[in-house]
């Protein structure tokens, strides 16, 4: 499978999001760069609203992720509950 990735700015907003992503995607690998965190995964990466809410203890709207997103790779599908990045092949 090809690698999908998501890169986020390194800040207080994204810390719990990264934690949630790592929790939900055991194969995900973190690559820390200047002011930016890139998360690579094999073929598929999912960001789940519930996990973020459990970590932060607050309601979270997945569209807020856009404020801190730097770049990504893969096809994207978004619902109220999760954002999925994936390659079909």
């Amino acid at each position: 499978m090809s690698t999908v990735f998501l890169a986020l700015q390194t800040n207080e907003d994204t810390r719990p999001i990264i934690e949630a992503i790592l929790q939900d995607n055991p194969s995900a690998v973190v690559d820390e760069q200047p002011a930016m965190v890139k998360i690579n995964a094999d073929g598929r990466l999912v960001v789940r609203r519930e996990t973020i809410e459990e970590i932060t203890g607050r309601a979270y709207d997945l569209q807020e992720l856009q404020v801190n997103m730097i770049t990504m790779s893969g096809n994207l599908d978004q619902t109220d509950d999760e954002i999925t990045l994936f390659w079909k092949s």
């Binding site: 090809s2 200047p34 002011a35 709207d61 404020v67 990504m72 994207l76």
Partner: protein
């Protein structure tokens, strides 16, 4: 959610659907082809606009909310950076030349993208793509303006940026990025989407922004880093639009596949040629390097683009064939470009210099197959000559490629000792090209590319002197007249970094900031 709904709660997709495509209707008082006149001539067949999948489902109220949050953060940082003389914290004054390159070469393109996406959005009959395009049009004016606002403070203290709009329309090497975007916006709306939305935003944007922005971060330029990352947060939306466009067109009709393949081939190459400027920026202009051009190409194109084209293979789309030549050029591109700009330092709005010993060692390590053999000896010679007071400034105008408009500086694929020349006879004139790919692009649409405003031709035709210039008077200083036309101040905006006002001022100001004098 912002667009909340009483009673039966609609899911994100359903809600977004009534908020966008539910608004549209099929007109009956005017004909579709009169309302949407630009949609048929490219030969792309669309049978059902409703098959469009919206990637990010952002309604306007949520858009305003999140974008305002980004803007507030961004301008707070720009203000703090300016109030604090943040420009004195960059690694060294050479870095500022990347900022000059950016504002005169890239920011004006953001503006063209703004107008281009307004045009494409208006041209498409489908509400899904229209909303996505118009939102991108709005984002792009954001990018153009935040860049101007962030760089405005650099312009107050450093040279070369003071008339960047004027220069973008005139200075010889800026016709490379300018003609690239002019080419895209003058193409039909589908080709525009493939060129900018897909090839540029999805395939190549990481190579432009990530190096520039991490470069800024590495070199202490918090202002640029902030607008870069802030712009990138919109880019994620743009990338998904670019990928969706491709999938949508390909799924609509098999006859679209070869047309799209040709566009992908063309625009990957056109975009790559523009990135020549980024390659030399990464390898030469950042005092503190992030990664080499070659490494960036391998990560962001070969690896990531490889995954993308593997994914698109199910539609019959193949990796653009220019990728093979690009792989051969990756050991040479930045060195050949920097050598050329070193030559033409008298006619550019930024400074150039020879790398120091440490930097040469870095280049040797990053380019073990090419640097020591082909480029180090050249640089050492120039450095010696400069030390003797013979800093080389080339005053002979170069021949330009008719398509990409870059001087003929690239070598034959596989032979870095021989300049690559191609030519085509068309309607009694001879046209010159830097490569097989640029030649093929011309051959497919000669009527378009013969129109190119080639800076060197224009200079020789006398079109690049200030009004009222008489080039026949004795002792006519052609270069001086051209620089006046560019509004480029000789001795301040151009020439070697070592003798620049930027270098002198930076040292003096930093001295004031760090020492008790």
């Amino acid at each position: 959610m912002d667009m909340q709904v009483a009673k039966k709660k609609l899911g994100l997709k359903e809600r977004y659907s009534v908020m966008t495509r539910g608004l549209d209707w099929t007109p009956s008082y005017q004909k579709m082809e009169d309302i949407y006149p630009y949609i048929a001539y490219e030969g792309i067949k669309i049978h059902d606009w409703d098959k469009w999948e919206d990637p990010f489902r952002l309604t306007m109220d949520a858009y305003w909310k999140y974008q305002a949050e980004k803007e507030r953060k961004l301008y707070a940082i720009i203000d703090a950076f300016n109030q604090n003389n943040g420009h004195l914290n960059v690694t060294d004054a050479r870095y500022i030349n990347t900022v000059k390159l950016f504002i005169s070469g890239i920011s004006p393109l953001e503006y063209v993208a703004h107008r281009g996406f307004a045009h494409a959005g208006r041209a498409f009959p489908g509400p899904g793509p229209r909303v996505a395009c118009l939102m991108q049009s709005l984002d792009e004016i954001r990018h153009a303006q935040t860049q101007v606002h962030a760089i405005s403070n650099y312009n107050k203290y450093y040279n070369g940026m003071h008339d960047f709009h004027h220069m973008h329309d005139r200075v010889w090497f800026l016709s490379v990025p300018k003609s690239f975007f002019d080419d895209a916006i003058t193409a039909g709306p589908f080709e525009f989407m493939v060129s900018i939305g897909f090839s540029f935003e999805y395939v190549l944007t990481n190579l432009l922004f990530v190096p520039f922005v991490s470069g800024a971060a590495y070199n202490g330029d918090m202002g640029t880093m902030t607008f870069g990352f802030s712009a990138q947060s919109d880019e994620a939306r743009h990338m998904t639009l670019g990928l969706e466009v491709i999938k949508f067109i390909l799924e609509q009709d098999p006859a679209n596949v070869p047309i799209v393949q040709r566009w992908i081939d063309k625009w990957t190459w056109r975009g790559y040629r523009v990135l020549t400027l980024v390659a030399m920026m990464m390898d030469y202009m950042l005092p503190k390097r992030t990664m080499s051009w070659k490494e960036a190409w391998e990560v962001y194109f070969e690896e990531n683009g490889g995954a993308l084209f593997k994914d698109l293979a199910r539609y019959g789309i193949k990796m653009p064939k220019c990728a093979e030549q690009i792989a051969l050029e990756k050991d040479h591109l930045s060195h050949q470009a920097w050598s050329t700009f070193y030559n033409y330092a008298a006619a550019a709005n930024f400074h150039t210099w020879m790398p120091d010993e440490d930097e040469m060692a870095w280049l040797s390590a990053k380019y073990p197959n090419s640097f020591d053999k082909h480029y180090r000896p050249r640089y050492e010679f120039w450095r010696e000559q400069a030390a003797k007071g013979n800093r080389f400034y080339n005053k002979t105008l170069p021949m330009l490629c008719q398509t990409c408009q870059i001087p003929m500086l690239f070598t034959e694929p596989g032979d870095p000792t021989k300049i690559c020349y191609r030519e085509v006879d068309y309607k009694g004139d001879k046209y010159h090209f830097c490569s097989d790919h640029c030649k093929e692009i011309f051959e497919h649409e000669p009527e378009k590319y013969v129109q190119a405003w080639l800076p060197v031709h224009q200079i020789y035709q006398g079109n690049c002197f200030p009004e009222g210039t008489d080039p026949t008077v004795e002792g006519f200083d052609a270069l001086g007249a051209v620089l006046k036309y560019y509004n480029l101040e000789h001795g301040r905006d151009n020439l070697d970094f070592d003798i620049s006002e930027d270098k002198k001022n930076f040292a003096e100001w930093r001295g004031q900031a760090t020492k008790n004098i």
